[in-house]
Symmetry: C2
Subunit: 276 residues, 2 copies
């Protein structure tokens, strides 16, 4: 199945993306402080949320911190998502970017070895560093465009040939999107800029971090990306869902947090439809 169709189906199910950033220091006290606990925690979270999520986004750093064992846990988590929710997109939040022959190996690792559908990549090294991730129309890449952090000001807001760098990146990626398997990472902490990027990039799906702990604006993110049928973006939340409760009711609390987010999104869509 093409990535374009997979995304269409996943977003029709739900624009909610759950970031799997498991932190041993934040797991409920029922879990032992050892890496193996992460897989058990992830499974509980996935079981109680997968009917509500359009995507899961494991953040590779949280697994690589435990070396080879972390990679085992990452692989097992991805297999668990696949069997629990085959229609849900799995986005490798790995922010890779390297020359062609190296990027091809990262693609092999993330798509074929681990079984993800998409990956986040950095644009800095240009087309040949992104190409191996979008060469097969069944897999896709979300290219960093405007990130949610403070450091986005250092380069992304600079003017490059009469436009902001994030706009320049959005234009470039639009030109690379022959297989309709490119997306953009646009942080929820920048609503006006997100609207500008949406204009440039047409129907390209966004991956939106920054809701919750980072203070991004959910309402604007939904408004800007609602295309009349669906929200054309995976809106990510990690910490606000995973650690909704630090107690043994963490899984129920996580489900409740996702349901709250779902209701908020639907309310914005309804309001938006009425206004129109």
């Amino acid at each position: 199945m093409t990535f374009q169709l997979r995304v269409e189906r996943a977003l029709t199910k739900s624009p909610i993306c759950i970031g799997l950033d498991p932190d041993l220091n934040k797991l409920p006290s029922a879990f032992k402080k050892e890496p193996a606990s992460i897989l058990e925690f992830n499974k509980k979270i996935i079981e109680t949320t997968c009917d509500l999520a359009g995507a899961y986004k494991p953040n590779f750093a949280f697994y690589e911190a435990f070396g080879a064992q972390g990679w085992e846990i990452l692989g097992a988590t991805i297999r668990f998502i696949r069997s629990a929710a085959p229609e849900t997109i799995i986005i490798a939040d790995a922010k890779r970017g390297d020359i062609g022959n190296t990027a091809a190996l990262y693609a092999q690792s993330v798509f074929h070895h681990l079984g993800c559908d998409a990956i986040t990549v950095s644009p800095y090294m240009g087309l040949d560093s992104v190409q191996p991730f979008i060469a097969d129309k069944n897999y896709g890449a979300f290219v960093l465009c405007l990130t949610s952090n403070e450091g986005s000001k250092d380069f992304q807001y600079r003017t490059i040939e009469d436009k902001k760098m994030y706009e320049f990146v959005a234009e470039k990626v639009s030109g690379w999107n022959n297989h309709r398997n490119c997306g953009l990472v646009v942080g929820a902490t920048h609503s006006d800029e997100m609207a500008a990027v949406r204009k440039i990039s047409g129907a390209m799906p966004f991956l939106i971090p920054g809701i919750g702990a980072q203070g991004g604006d959910l309402e604007s993110a939904v408004k800007i990306n609602f295309d009349g049928q669906k929200v054309n973006a995976f809106i990510n939340s990690s910490r606000a869902i995973l650690y909704a409760s630090g107690g043994n009711d963490f899984a129920e609390a996580a489900r409740k947090a996702v349901l709250t987010m779902k209701n908020q999104i639907e309310a914005v869509i309804l309001k938006n439809k009425e206004v129109k």
Copy 2:
């Protein structure tokens, strides 16, 4: 020991950096086509070259392609380098870059779990994505500035506030270098631009890819970075050393290739001294 002093000592030993990019399809026929062969191959290469190398640079993609097993091999390779050549710098060629709390976990993975001295990072997300890698003066980061690939033209050569983006990055990183543990990645395929970046960045060490298979200019790289005492750059070669011979004499051939590179570098230094 500070990263600055480690680099000083490593470069005084040798500016040659050996890229450990082991490709199963290119290993000599004596090796079985299975991931475990990579460790045996790496060990032979390290044994026969470590007296001549100032740095080793494992490229993470070549290990991640084998998942958890690849990470085991990567860890074992790094431990082997450390015991065979404790004075040699180990640079994680991982090109990471993410928001602060995530970058801190990558730093934990690469410096503490794996035991590398430095990492390559992308500048696109700005200072807070680089900070966790340079917060401890005993470890360092080589920030992508001007890469050796074709795609470097897509963004790095664009004009940003009256200068080229790679110059802008070099200036920014110079401002971040309080602990003298920042370096820059500058490809050997762009000699004139490398000279410009050297002027901007003072005594910052470079990591120079692009010699060999990518056609970069060794002579210029040495000339530009010779500071009167040492070449202030790790000049990387991967494929030309690892696969100098496809036969069972691969390790001797690798040593010969490194010796040839050493002689070429010394000849340029000698010529340069005479001219002066």
